[in-house]
């Protein structure tokens, strides 16, 4: 691999010519700055290896950067990209190519699980090393040296902004992938007896998933001609007012189709927090656990479960209808 990968959704990082100008405007980058950077070009190019190793030597001492420094292939790529970057940094041309080069490096850091804190520390050291050399070169005119360094620092901040954006964007992408994975966890609707369905809900219930659940449940109610649904929420990670609203809507929709819903598995903590939130669940029939819910459902459907030793015939005798 000669080049680090670019994320496919590069545009989300805002790299249009207009955005690049804005990024530069944020740090107040002026044509003067480019001229000043040109005066230290040779100095930086001459010492590029030393600066680069300042950066990576510092990372090597940090446990949090082991993801990068302990992987030979990633480290080699990073070193090469860093080398390119330092040279590009003093060329005065900060267009899309420059930005993309930075994004590549950012993606690499992200793959190596390097976090922003560690990166910033190392980058600061690198800038300090360059700064020290600039001051040395301008020993007789420290003011000019300082101005040069500040100009370079502006570009440094553009870089940092971009790298942090990439790190955040990559993290968001990971989160989105995980959310999709959670959504794809199927939520089966199971028929337990004639006219009785159970719906074990697990994981995080957000609006999209709630809609899917409701759709699936209603279709199953129609397909199985269900009259009672026992919805078990023991496995739902967090129940807040939003989730409770989804539950209420699902129950109301099921009722419109002629099925009644029994919600089970509301733990003591969840019950207390729902009461504290003031969520009105009076429209929902609840039982403490799945067993209680199933027994209630069987009672409503007119089933009577009898022990095999008992005198009465075993289950299935329909006495009344709920």
């Amino acid at each position: 691999m000669t080049d680090g990968p670019l994320p496919s959704d590069l545009d989300r990082l805002q790299l249009s010519p207009h955005d690049i100008e804005r990024r530069k405007a944020f740090v107040d980058f002026q044509p003067d700055d480019a001229a000043r950077i040109a005066t230290i070009k040779d100095l930086v190019v001459r010492n590029v290896d030393r600066y680069s190793s300042t950066f990576f030597d510092h990372l090597a001492t940090t446990e949090e950067a082991f993801g990068l420094t302990r992987s030979r292939s990633l480290l080699e790529q990073a070193k090469r990209l860093k080398h390119e970057h330092l040279i590009a940094m003093v060329q005065g041309d900060y267009g899309r190519d420059y930005m993309e080069q930075r994004v590549r490096l950012g993606v690499l850091y992200s793959r190596a699980a390097l976090n922003a804190r560690v990166f910033l520390g190392a980058f600061h050291l690198l800038m300090r090393a360059i700064g020290a050399d600039i001051i040395k070169q301008y020993a007789n005119a420290p003011g000019n040296g300082f101005d040069c360094f500040m100009s370079l620092k502006k570009i440094g901040f553009v870089d940092i902004g971009l790298i942090v954006d990439v790190l955040i964007a990559e993290r968001e992408r990971t989160i989105n992938l995980q959310q999709d994975a959670i959504r794809e966890l199927s939520t089966p609707v199971l028929q337990l007896r004639d006219r009785l369905l159970i719906l074990p809900m697990i994981g995080v219930i957000d609006s999209r998933r709630a809609r899917q659940l409701t759709d699936g449940l209603l279709l199953s109610i129609r397909a199985n001609r269900a009259k009672i649904v026992v919805m078990d929420i023991t496995g739902v990670a967090a129940v807040d007012s939003k989730v409770a609203n989804h539950l209420i809507q699902t129950v109301a929709a099921a009722r419109l189709m002629g099925a009644s819903v029994i919600v089970t598995g509301i733990s003591a903590d969840v019950a207390q927090s729902l009461v504290a939130l003031g969520v009105d669940l009076t429209s929902i029939r609840t039982m403490n656990d799945l067993q209680g819910g199933l027994e209630e459902a069987e009672r409503l459907l007119g089933y009577k479960v009898v022990h095999a030793d008992g005198a009465t015939p075993a289950s299935g005798s329909r006495l009344t209808r709920g």
């Binding site: 279709l219 109610i221 129609r222 001609r225 009259k227 699902t250 929709a253 009722r255 002629g258 209808r321």
Partner: protein, 124 residues
């Protein structure tokens, strides 16, 4: 298109044949109120399985049909609300509180028979 209202024993069955406009709904309401008295009906089944939308006016009218029927001595069951319609109604905050619902015509009739018998036993 007006809704045909069939008499079946102690029940009236109104089965919608196409999407209804507001006027059809009002006419349905009037006819049911009249026929309950004429046939001494004890139950009304409203079959809405053909409808792919139930807006607020339709929901309100169905509810008022049920309330009118109750005052005239008949229970009402609304049957055949489709999954999509149910979800849309819930999202619009439309409810049919106090009105019985059932999956389809068969279920609705069973429910009404049980309810009529229950009230007869309770009354005797």
């Amino acid at each position: 298109m007006p809704v045909p209202i069939l008499k079946q024993g102690q029940m009236l069955i109104a089965s919608m044949q196409s999407n209804l406009n507001d006027q059809d709904l009002m006419q349905l309401k009037d006819e049911i109120a009249g026929k309950i008295g004429r046939f001494k009906s004890r139950g009304v089944v409203l079959d809405v399985s053909i409808l792919d939308v139930l807006d607020s006016f339709a929901t309100r009218t169905l509810r008022s049909i049920a309330e009118t029927a109750r005052l005239r001595g008949a229970e009402t069951v609304i049957v055949g609300i489709q999954p999509d319609v149910a979800i849309a109604m819930v999202q619009l905050g439309l409810t049919l509180d106090g009105v019985m619902t059932a999956l389809d015509l068969e279920e609705g009739i069973d429910l009404l028979v049980a309810s009529i018998e229950g009230s007869r036993q309770g009354g005797s």
